[in-house]
Structure formats: C-alpha cells, structure tokens
C-alpha cells in the first residue's frame, strides 16, 4: 500500500458553502449592456484552473531561493505526499430574458439565455387566456423549437445552444417564436442545468413572461405588459436603446428557429430582463508536501506546494510529542508569517513564478513529531484533510541515532498510529476480557442446561469479536502506507473522479444499507444492536445507512408518527439514537433519518369527535389537515397528492406547516446528527414542497419513496413501463432534483424478468435500462427489497432464490444501490460483499454508463463504464475478448461479473 486514499474533501465543508443563496436571487437593477458585465461576474480564471493532482517537481522559484532548494535536494526525502483538494466554488453569471421582434419585424421572439457554462435546458410551458389556476400547458406545436422534448402534457424541454456574443464571449441561448394570434397569456419557464441537476427560478417560483395585459400581476412576472414602460417598478425602466443592439446580437442564431408568417400585429411587448445567478462548480487542486532531512543540521526541511489559485495562507503548527496539541516551533519562521493567538502560525504562500499556484518552505528543528496544517483560501474557506488537519510526520530521529525502540516504532507511523499504545492496550484488554469470559464459561459449567445456553452465547460473542477485529485490521491495512516505502514517494494520489455533492446523489459513489426490517422494533433496543454492526457495515463498503423512523408512533414500526419531537421509539430512546448515529459517523457512514411528512396522528378529537387536533410541540389543529379526506374533516386546502387514508394527511400548502416541518428537520440535523432523509410516502404531497424542505435542511443525501403500481395488461406486466418511471421522474423533477427516488420500476421489471425468465425485459425500446436508472440514473436509488415489500410483510417480495441476480444487477449498474438488512446478514453476505467491493474497486458511480450487450430470453448482459461486465440469467455470455482483457471477479447462481485486468 503506497498511497493514502483521501475522500473527497468536499462534503466536509459544503455545508458551510454558499448555496443558491437568497443574495443571488434578489433583483438588481437591469443592465443594459450585458456582455461587459458578464466578464466581471464570471470568474473565468478560477474555473479553468483545473489540474489533476500530480507529482510536482521542485523548482527554483527565484534567485534567493536557489540555495535552499539545493539543500533540499541533497537531503533524503523522508516523506512526500500529494493530497487532493476538492472544493466548490460559486461562479456568478446571469440569466437574461429578451422579448423582441424577429427578423422582418413581424413575429415576436422570446430569447432566454445564460452566460455560465453548463448543460442548460429550458423547461417551459404556456398559460392560455382561458386558463384558471396556475397549471402549465403545452404550447402550440409551431412554437416548439427543434430538438425539444415534451414532458408529459404540460411542458417542453428545449436545450440551450451555445453561441458567441459579438465580443467573443460564449453564452447559451434559446429562442421561442411567439404566435401573435394564439390565445397564449404567458410563457412560464424555469432553467435547468442538466450537469448539476439544479433548477433556476425567479424568486423561488417559475419565470413568467406575460404576453397580454390583463393577466393579474401575481408578483412573479418578469415580462412586459403592453410596453416597456409597464415593467414593474422594481426592475427600473428599460430603455429602448437596448433593442436595436439585441436584435442584431441574436441574428446569428435566428436561422435555427422556425419562422412564421405574421398574421396580426402584436402589441409592443419588447423588453429585456436579466437575473443574476450563481452556480456551484467543483474544483480539484492538490497540495504536495515533501519532507527532507538535512544531514548536516539534522533539521527537517518541509516544502509545501499547491496549485490553488490566488492567495493561500497556511495555518500551521507542530506536534512536539504524541499529545497532539498544536504548538509553535522555534524560529526562524518563513517570511510573511504571523502568529495566530499563541497556538499557530500563519504564513502566506509565495506565488510560483509561472503564476500557477504557490509554495512555501519551512525549516523545522530536530525532535518534532509532526507538522500540522490547514489551508485557508479566504475568509471562511478552509481546506482540510478528510475533516482533519493535514498531518505530516517528521523524522524525529535519524536512522543513525539509536533511540529507544518504542520511540522509533511510534514516530515512524502515519498519524493515527500515534495513538496506538493506548488503543492497543484497550483493545487487548477488551479481547482478553472476552477470552477470560470464555475461560470462565468453560470452567464454570455446572449443569447441562446452563452450558447449552452459554455455548450459544459464546458462539455469538466469538463470532462477533472475530468480525470486529477483522474489520478493524482491514480498515487500517487498507488506509495505511508503509512509511518508508520508495513507491510512496514517487507515486501521487490517483485523482478522484470529480464528485459533486448534492442532496440528490450524495457524492455519487454512495452505497446504501437499509438498516432495519419490519421486526426490528421488537427487541426494543434496535439502535444498540445496530451499533454493534457499524464497523462491519463500514468494512463491507457501505457509505450510507437508512435508520428506521425515529419518532413516537401509534404503530410500533414508526410510520404513524404522533409527536414529532418525541424521539423515544420502539427502536430505542433519543440518547441511544444519538449514540448510534455517532458510531456510524465514526466509521465513516452517513445516516439517513426516515421522516414521515405526509401524515401525522392526532392527539385529540375535535368537537365532532374526529381525531384531528395535534398536541406536543407542534400543536396544530384541523387547518393543518387536508380538506379532501372526509374521515378527518380537515380545514386546510385540497391535498397536493394522493391520500394516505389511515391518518390525517398534512396540508403542506399551509405556511405554518411548512415552517414547522423545516424547523423540525433542521432540529433533527443538528440535535441527532442525521445527514439526510429517507422520505416516506412522497406520493402524498407535491414534490415542490420537498424541495423547500431539502433546501432548508441541506441534507447530504435524500431519497423519496414514490411507490405506485406498474402497468399490467391482462395480468402480465407491460414491457414498456415508461409511464411508471415518468411519474417517478416527475416527482424528482418537482423536487428540483434535490432528492433521489427509489427505483420501483427497476424492481418491478426485475421481478418479471427473473421470475418468468424474460431477460429481454431488462432493455427498453431504446436499448437502455428500463427503469428510472435508464432515464435519470443519478437520481435513481435502486433496491430489490425493503421492509414493506419483503421482511415479514412481504407485500411484493422479490422472487425467491434470485436475490443475488437482483444484487448483481443493481450493484453493478449506475444509480445508488440499496442493500436490505435481511440480505446482508444472511447467506448472501459474502457475495454481496464481493459485489460491493467490486463496485468500489471499479469506481462505479451513480452516473456510470451502461452498454447493454445482450437482452434475450434467458440472459442479460451489459458492460458498465467499459471496465465491468455483468451477465444475469442462466444463458451463456462471455464478454468480448477485445479490446479489454476480462477476468471473472464474482460469480454465483445464474450471474457472473467480470472486470478488466
């Protein structure tokens, strides 16, 4: 092991990073001249400054440094390591909307553009004059530009095209021809960035460009009424000056638009509007640290080099012993160093001569244990190493000097071994205890009966102990590097594929475990039982665990919540919950809370004897209950989704309800430490509300349960399940891509394919996977079983004996796979472990590509990311021998997985 694998640093501070914040949503006065401003706003240099981490050669930067560099080179390299630095930067740009007359001055055109790079898509629809309410409609066919995709019956998605402005800046734009005599009242749209899944709106709502003057002003219109002078005051008056320029500006892209004969003179609707936006861009840089030992002075020379742009300040100190406390070394310190309190030093790194990054060198006295630092980019942006300080071990003793053995063995270790003696002691004490127990057990046997039970206990405890120890050994071996290996010096850390974190996908490399089943509440101490298995789950390779619903509930399983702030459930009390969450965090697993937002059980009856008055901290009354379920006599609005009839459905359209739920979610995040959500029964309310909840509670990962029936004809499942997956996609869309959704479609199709030996079902008409994962893989959370479908409920059980075929599918395919608890701790364990390890090893992620190579009656085969091949079904398949060489990696009943060798 010669490299240290470092997690993307991203998620450790993205929480504090800038969101699509309110600041960028507020309107600024309109700019009349868009191109020059664009330059100012868009930080092009930092965006382009991408460089994979690599080996940095030492360079003499200026004449004064030459001497130093020479000394460096003459000494032995003691340590060299390149750490990747991933961060998110917000780039600003703007969306501009222009309504103008097309060529020949006859038709009006609407142009929507954006000057940030991205895969922009205009998601739009129209409102007709006679429409009531705020529903969207499909525009007339003539208005739809080429290359557009209809989204059900109410919207169109049109990609923006890249164009060049007169002064050479790239921007993205789409034009829509307006038909003068149609009854269109307004055009509604939002802008979507397909790269990030982010949606851009106007003041939190759709953009609305009114085309007639009698539309009511509902506060979110950006378009002109009648004439430019009618633009809402806040936007400021627009001058006519802009129009001439704009028309010529867009001529070049007019050719792509359909041109229509004018029929009727429209009113003067021309105008121009801009909205600033911000976008998060993942940037990868690296920092390389090398330590050399100066043979003459016995001092250590430490050289830090990074390709981070701009001013970088290194905030540093040293460890004198293994107490791990920051201390300031004796001088001299490098130039531009200041003291920070009395604990650390801050040194500004010197810019490199090429302008690309910066460096610093530090001379450290003898006898120090290590060098610790973090990097500071600007106020508020700190770069750390996996959430910890960067730690560089220093040669505390030369190999020529004889020191006591103990000292040597400790100083030569990589950081976490500094704590070794203590932990070792406690570990061995722990194991000894177990061994003692066993010994006592054996010698204390008095009756056959007690022996019978104790044998079982001993059996369990030994097995668990072995697993725990193995998991521990594995995690250390996996992450440690031999300190003095030459390869560690030469090799740089393999650059991680860029991983953007968003709540819909996590890092994109997540593998989830559903950490309970329908019976888990029975022991009354599930949290504690799960805690025991945390390190095991971590060593299996899971990154996310979904815990059962934590609230007080009418039903023991937790899905009939009552007082949301009471977290004592049949799974354990609030303290145990906190403890299990912390345990999972300690082993590097993120924790999802199962939150039931659709319904809530009441505490009291109203005057009619109907249960719809709530108690506890959220003491809502019948106004919080939807109006269209007669059982509960709600006085809220109609439900925005399907009703769940066993309990009062919450009316999310009420501001106070949303406010309270947001507060609750934020409390759960902070108090319990949940990293994200599994959202129960999201069919029950509009996905747009989910978006509000997720934007406010900022989860690391969120997934919704949108479960409805697949389509069947005469009892046989239809091959085409596009409407089913479209419904799930629509929900994800409504959440703005802030959440993923369980891929129920894929589960259903796997059922039919495996049960009936109809493996052809695993390819849709376009040769792509037929589930949600074929259309929007990054948001598809695949699974084959959960507490409802399987476990002791068995509402829709996966075909028996074919579970591993199912897992070989979802664990090799894109999407975020979920493994059900019952399957992990079963005879499937080793096969599942092998598949997870293969997935991690080959870096398959939620956006990996799938190439289906065979979908026939008895066999399905696909190649993922060109380095993993999978075959499911009894039929024969071998991956092609060219151009890759394949070796069989995992195999089981009716499936095989290969990886390139």
């Amino acid at each position: 092991m010669s490299t240290v694998s470092i997690e993307p640093l991203l998620h450790h501070y993205v929480r504090g990073g800038v969101k699509y914040g309110p600041k960028s949503k507020t309107f600024k006065p309109c700019y009349f001249n868009c191109s020059p401003n664009r330059k100012l706003l868009f930080h092009a240099p930092s965006f382009c400054n991408f460089r994979p981490s690599s080996f940095h050669a030492l360079r003499a930067s200026s004449s004064t440094d030459t001497a130093l560099v020479e000394t460096l080179e003459s000494a032995d390299v003691f340590f060299k390591e390149t750490f990747p630095l991933n961060r998110v930067e917000t780039v600003e740009g703007k969306i501009f909307i222009r309504l103008h007359r097309g060529q020949n001055n006859e038709n009006m055109q609407l142009a929507v553009g954006c000057n940030l790079p991205g895969k922009w898509i205009l998601h739009w629809g129209v409102s007709y004059l006679d429409d009531v309410g705020s529903e969207w409609d499909q525009p007339p066919a003539e208005m739809i530009p080429q290359g557009s995709i209809p989204i059900k019956d109410y919207a169109i998605e049109t990609p923006l095209k890249k164009a060049l402005s007169p002064d050479g800046d790239a921007f993205y734009e789409v034009m829509i021809d307006l038909i003068p005599n149609s009854a269109i009242a307004a055009i509604n749209f939002v802008l979507k960035d397909d790269e990030t899944g982010a949606w851009y709106q106007h003041r939190g709502r759709d953009f609305k460009v009114p085309l007639v003057d009698y539309l009511q002003d509902d506060g979110n219109m950006v378009g002109a009424k009648r004439s430019l002078s009618m633009w809402p005051g806040a936007f400021g008056p627009l001058s006519n000056l802009v129009l001439g320029a704009e028309v010529s500006h867009t001529n070049d892209s007019d050719g792509t638009n359909e041109f229509r004969e004018p029929k009727q003179e429209s009113r003067s609707l021309e105008g121009f509007y801009e909205q600033p936006i911000a976008k998060h861009v993942a940037l990868e840089n690296s920092v390389t640290v090398s330590v050399r030992k100066c043979t003459e002075t016995a001092k250590s020379l430490l050289y830090v080099e990074t390709d981070l742009p701009g001013d970088v300040v290194i905030h540093w100190g040293v460890y004198r012993d293994d107490a791990k406390s920051w201390e300031i070394p004796s001088g001299p310190h490098p130039p531009e160093t200041i003291f920070f309190r009395d604990k650390a030093l801050r040194t500004r790194l010197q810019p490199k001569e090429g302008g690309d990054g910066c460096w610093g060198s530090f001379t450290l006295e003898q006898g120090l244990e290590g060098f610790v630092f973090v990097l500071k980019l600007d106020e508020g942006t700190w770069l750390k190493c996996m959430g910890n300080d960067f730690y560089i071990p220093l040669p505390s003793s030369s190999s020529l000097l004889t020191k006591s053995r103990q000292d040597l063995s400790e100083s030569a270790q990589i950081p976490d071994n500094n704590a070794e003696p203590n932990e070792k002691a406690s570990l061995s004490a722990y194991t000894d205890e177990i061994i003692n127990d066993i010994r006592n057990l054996v010698s204390n046997i008095s009756t056959e009966k007690s022996r019978k039970t104790k044998t079982k206990e001993a059996q369990e405890s030994i097995l668990q102990e072995i697993e725990k120890l193995a998991a521990e050994a594995y995690s250390i071996f996996r992450s440690s590097i031999p300190t003095f290996s030459e390869e560690a010096v030469v090799k740089s850390v393999e650059p991680k594929p860029s991983a953007k974190i968003c709540s819909g996908t996590g890092t994109g490399f997540e593998i989830m475990c559903q950490g309970f089943n329908w019976e888990s509440h029975k022991s009354g101490r599930w949290y504690m039982e799960l805690k025991e298995r945390a390190s095991k789950l971590s060593s299996l390779g899971f990154t996310v665990i979904w815990l059962p619903p934590p609230t007080e509930s009418i039903s023991p399983e937790g899905y009939m919540p009552k007082d949301l702030y009471n977290l004592n459930s049949r799974y354990g009390n609030i303290d145990e919950l906190k403890e299990v969450v912390k345990t999972f965090h300690d082993v590097g697993i993120k924790v999802l809370g199962d939150v039931v937002l659709n319904h809530r059980c009441a505490h009291y009856k109203n005057q009619n004897g109907v249960w719809n008055i709530f108690g506890g901290r959220l003491n809502w009354d019948e106004r919080a209950v939807v109006a269209d379920d007669p059982h509960f006599q709600g006085r809220g609005n109609k439900s925005s989704g399907d009703n769940f009839h066993a309990a009062p459905n919450i009316d999310h359209s009420q501001d106070f309800v949303r406010r309270d739920l947001i507060e609750w979610l934020c409390w759960l995040r902070k108090e319990i430490g949940y990293d994200g959500w599994r959202l129960d029964f999201v069919r029950g309310f509009w996905g747009g509300y989910v978006k509000d909840y997720l934007e406010a509670s900022e989860p690391f990962f969120a997934v919704g349960e949108y479960w409805d029936s697949l389509s069947y004809t005469y009892g046989e499942m239809d091959h085409n399940q596009d409407p089913h997956r479209q419904r799930i996609i629509d929900w994800i869309n409504a959440t703005n891509g802030t959440a993923g959704a369980f891929d129920v479609t894929t589960k259903g199709i796997l059922h039919s394919a495996l049960e009936r030996c109809e493996y052809w079902r695993l390819s849709d008409q376009k040769g792509k996977p037929p589930g949600v994962l074929g259309w929007w893989p990054s948001r598809a959370v695949t699974f084959i079983e959960n507490h409802d479908t399987g476990s002791t409920q068995g509402h829709w059980r996966f075909p028996g004996g074919k579970e591993m075929q199912g897992y070989s599918y979802i664990l090799t395919h894109p999407g975020t796979p979920t493994v059900f608890y019952d399957h992990i701790f079963s005879h499937h364990e080793s096969e599942i472990a092998a598949l997870i390890s293969l997935r991690n090893r080959n870096k398959i992620h939620c956006r990996s590509t799938v190439q289906i190579t065979k979908a026939e009656r008895d066999v399905y085969a696909a190649i993922i990311d060109e380095n993993v091949a999978v075959k499911i079904g009894p039929g024969h398949y071998e991956p092609p021998s060219e151009p890759q060489r394949w070796s069989l990696a995992v195999e089981g009943k009716d499936y095989k997985v290969w990886e390139t060798s």
Partner: protein
C-alpha cells in the same frame, strides 16, 4: 491442533479450542495421536460420555497446568496424524527498514482475530536486508523482537522465515553493504546466458568463497543465525516453534530461472539456466574436465529457448530427440541440479546444527515449478534446478537431503488445481505436488503446506483442503498472507469458513437443531476427555 474431532459450527470450535489452549495443553501431539481413535467415538451423542466429561473437568484443569512445560519439549518428536495446524503469514513488510513495526495496530487486531478463530500461529519473514542492513555483523533485531512479543502476547505460535533474499514488492533490498559489494563484483549474483545479473540474492557458487569482505556467505549466514538464536532465546521453543532457512530466490531452493519473464502472464515460458556467473562457469569447467569431457564445460547448453518461449521453440527441451535426453544433457542437468542440492544441504545442515538445541523445527522451502509438467522434459523444473523428467525422479534426492538434516519441507502451491491452469502451459500442479509428496513420504520428511496465489482463486480453498485432509504427511499449513486483502470482506469470510471446515473434515447433520445441541456436548466432552487422558 486437535480440532478434527470437534463438532459442527465454528464458534463451538473456537470455544473448545480456546478452552483447550488456555488450559495449557497447547501441544498434545503425542497424546492426541493416541487419543484420536477414542475421540471419534464421542461423536455419538451418548449421555454417558457427556457425564464423564463433566466429571473430569476440574481435575483436568489442575493437572494440565503442571504438565504444559514438558509437552513443549517433546514437540519435535511426534506429530498429530489427524489435525492440521494452521499458520498465517504476517505482511512481508511487517517490520520497516528502520526496525519499527509497520501498521502495528492492524497486526495486533489481526492476531487477536486469528487467535479467536483458532489459528495456531503466524509466520514472520525476517529480512537480512533489514536486520543486518548497515554493516556486516551489526544486527538490529528490535522490530522483530517487538513483533514476536506481540505474537506471544496474543497467545499464538511463531514461525520465522530467515530471508537471505530481497523482495521487489514490497521493496526490501539486500543489506546495503552487500549491494555495494555486488556493484563492484557482480559475479556474486546469479547470471544468465545474456549476462544479466539477478540481484535479489547471492549465487550459490559463492557460498564458500570469501567474497563478502573476506568472509564467505555461509559464514555470514551462520553468524546471522547465531545472532538470531541468542536474540530470540526467550521465545525459543515456547512461542517460536519453527524456523525456515532462506535457500535462494524468494527463499526457495532453486535458481532464479524465471525472473525475466515478460508481462504476458498467460503462458509462462520455460525460463533460463543461471550458470553464467564467473564462479559457476569455473565450477562447471572443472567438473567437465574431471569427467573427461572438457568441451562440455565451456558453458550451458546452446540450444535452449529464452525466458518466455515455449519448450519447442528450440531443440533442448523437445519431447522427442531434445538434447536433454542426450549424454550431454544428462551431464549438464545432473551437475546443475547437484549444485543446487549441495547448496541446500550446506544451508540446512548449518541451520539444523545452529538450532539443534532449540525446540524449534527447521524447515526449507522448495518451489512448485508446475508449468510444462505434462511435457516429457519438464523444462521449468530443469531450469530451476530440479532434474525431474518423465524418465527420472528428481525429488528423491531432495527429500533425502531434507531427511538427512531432519528438516521439514515447505511446499507451496497447495491451492493450485489443474483445471485453473492455462491449457497451453501444459501445467499440472496437482501431479507435481503428488510426486514431491511421494518422495517426502518415502524419506519421512514432514511437509508444511503453503498457498501460492495471493488472491484466492475460486476453488482455491477446496484445493487446499483436498491437499491437507487426504494425506497424513502435511500436518501444518502456512496461509499466505495477512494484509488488506486478507481481511477484506471478499476474502475474510471465506477464510473463516475454510478454517472452520478444516477443523471438521466430515460434515455432520448440523442442519438439525437438536442434533446440533447434542454434538456440541459431545465435542466438549471430547476435548475435556482428552485433557483428562493426557493427565493420566
């Protein structure tokens, strides 16, 4: 250890194992031999036996504590004919080149896990290039002693491999001072026909030449062993039960005939003879002149293929009419392989005499050159120094040499099965292994098994089991090797299962819950009963 008589599920084994060991009877070899027949009886769930077991318990515990020391001393004399003792290799780089224990915490956890699993001990490679790194005679044992202490604390046995070679991955070089000598005098290294030196270990031709600053390699090895013996005397015989002597490349008794193979791993070539360093050529010349064919002593055979070629690409190894089957061929091959055997003899007798007082078993490792076994000439074996063809048994002499020195033979490749070998290489690890085992059986040489591939191929464990259980010649298996992969979820569970199945060769009806309970009892009885009998 005596676990073959023990019941069904793994934890029970763990339990009894531990109970057994904690009681102090860690080496019931002689006794268990006598006992094994009886213990089989215990499998029948008889109440009488059960009761008897319970009654004996306390007495057994007491008497054992007294006996334990004596048993250790007798460990070399007899062995279990039923069980296989399992060892696991520690990482090659367990001790860093500045004598600290690498990833000590992981090793500590790993040792505990192995102990609980019922593994007997661990194997630890001790590198010449680390211990005697800086100057001749300047030994630094601290890292290894620390590790031995950890092993002892974990209650495991230790088997060290004295490694007088270098390792490429992880990079562990020869001692610096030896490499320096090698730079000025590359003739201390093995050399092939093209004049390329193999710098990972010293040529056997210099064994008795004073090339190391006036001392011979044999002297240097000897002093190393002496220093080891005195440094490890506290562990000798108690924790330290085995010492394997490094005999050549990768510690194996062979020529480095295959070190220049190119990347295409599919079909290994035949390798090349390594007799072209100045000293080897000198010996060959003398030998040829002494036998009256001076012209045969000018070099190795001229009609051999190169490293990665197949046997038929040149004349020497051809099945029919190849020069190996000629008078000259016999002359050369006999000389070439005899050189190797006398080298082995030299080192093993050195080790045997050095460690004769200590209670540790001395071992040597030989390679399993299984490719091209199905040809008549066995070219891979020939180039490696084993004159074993369809017409000549080359392992007899080797086994005889081991027997002469009362050394145990370490045999790798126990995990390899014929069906997983590439067809084109005409290889047969199973047949070759059978050949060698036959020779060993004939000369009464005990065998310690090892696996060859780092990552277990499908069916590897079954193959090992097959090799271990069928015969009574292999009583110890050293599984290679602890590390990240070893503990990874794709490997460790199957290893656990392997250990479990190893300890209970015949599967009992543990599907039936009641039966299971019964068996659990009888197994307790059996171990306790054995304790009792031992005490008597």
């Amino acid at each position: 250890m005596e676990v073959s008589v023990i019941g069904c599920s793994q934890a029970k084994i763990g339990k009894t194992e531990l109970a057994y060991r904690e009681l102090g009877c860690f080496d019931p070899k002689g006794v268990s031999k006598a006992f094994s027949a009886k213990s089989r009886v215990c499998f029948s769930p008889s109440t009488r036996w059960r009761k008897a077991g319970i009654r004996f318990t306390l007495r057994a515990v007491q008497s054992e504590a007294v006996r334990s020391e004596k048993v250790a001393a007798s460990s070399r004399i007899s062995r279990s004919r039923d069980g296989v003792r399992l060892f696991v290799g520690l990482p090659l780089d367990s001790v860093s080149d500045c004598n600290t224990v690498n990833h000590a915490r992981a090793i500590a956890a790993g040792l505990k896990a192995l102990k609980l699993l019922g593994v007997e001990g661990v194997e630890l490679p001790v590198w010449w290039g680390i211990v005697e790194k800086e100057a001749m005679g300047k030994y630094e044992w601290s890292g290894y002693l620390a590790l031995a202490k950890m092993v002892q604390d974990a209650g495991l046995k230790l088997h060290v491999s004295l490694s007088f070679h270098a390792s490429k991955r992880p990079k562990i070089p020869l001692p610096e001072w030896v490499s320096r000598i090698g730079e000025s005098n590359p003739n201390i290294f093995f050399t092939d026909r093209a004049g390329q030196h193999y710098k990972e270990c010293l040529s056997l031709a210099v064994d008795d030449l004073p090339v190391l600053d006036g001392r011979t390699p044999i002297q240097v090895y000897h002093e190393f062993c002496e220093s080891f013996k005195s440094s490890f005397s506290p562990f000798m015989g108690s924790t330290l039960t085995g010492i394997s002597m490094g005999l050549g490349p990768d510690g194996e008794l062979r020529y480095p005939s295959h070190h220049m193979l190119t990347k295409s791993k599919q079909i290994p070539g035949v390798g090349e003879f390594q007799c072209y360093d100045k000293n080897m050529l000198g010996i060959l010349k003398q030998h040829a002149e002494a036998t009256g064919n001076p012209l045969w002593g000018l070099g190795g055979p001229h009609d051999v293929p190169t490293y990665d070629q197949s046997p038929n690409s040149n004349n020497f190894f051809r099945d029919n009419g190849g020069s190996w089957d000629s008078l000259y061929g016999d002359f050369f091959l006999s000389w070439y392989s005899n050189q190797l055997i006398s080298h082995g003899n030299l080192l093993l007798s050195l080790a045997a005499s050095t460690f004769s007082e200590s209670a540790a078993t001395v071992c040597g490792k030989i390679p399993l050159m299984h490719s091209w076994y199905k040809t008549r000439s066995h070219p891979s074996e020939l180039t490696a120094g084993y004159y074993n063809t369809t017409t000549r048994d080359g392992y007899e002499v080797v086994a005889e040499m081991f027997a002469r020195n009362s050394c145990k033979m370490i045999l790798p490749g126990m995990d390899l099965s014929d069906e997983h070998q590439s067809r084109a290489s005409l290889s047969s690890p199973e047949l070759l292994l059978a050949d060698i085992k036959k020779a060993c059986r004939k000369h009464g040489v005990e065998v310690c098994g090892q696996n060859s591939s780092a990552s277990m191929a499908p069916g590897g464990f079954q193959q090992i089991k097959k090799n271990l259980l069928g015969e009574n010649i292999v009583d110890l298996f050293s599984y290679q090797r602890m590390g990240a992969y070893f503990f990874s979820p794709e490997h460790f569970p199957s290893f656990t299962q392997f250990v479990r199945s190893l300890n209970q060769p015949e599967l009992h009806s543990d599907d039936l819950p009641e039966e299971e309970e019964e068996t659990a009892h009888s197994l307790n009885v059996s171990s306790e009963a054995s304790v009792h009998m031992q005490a008597v």
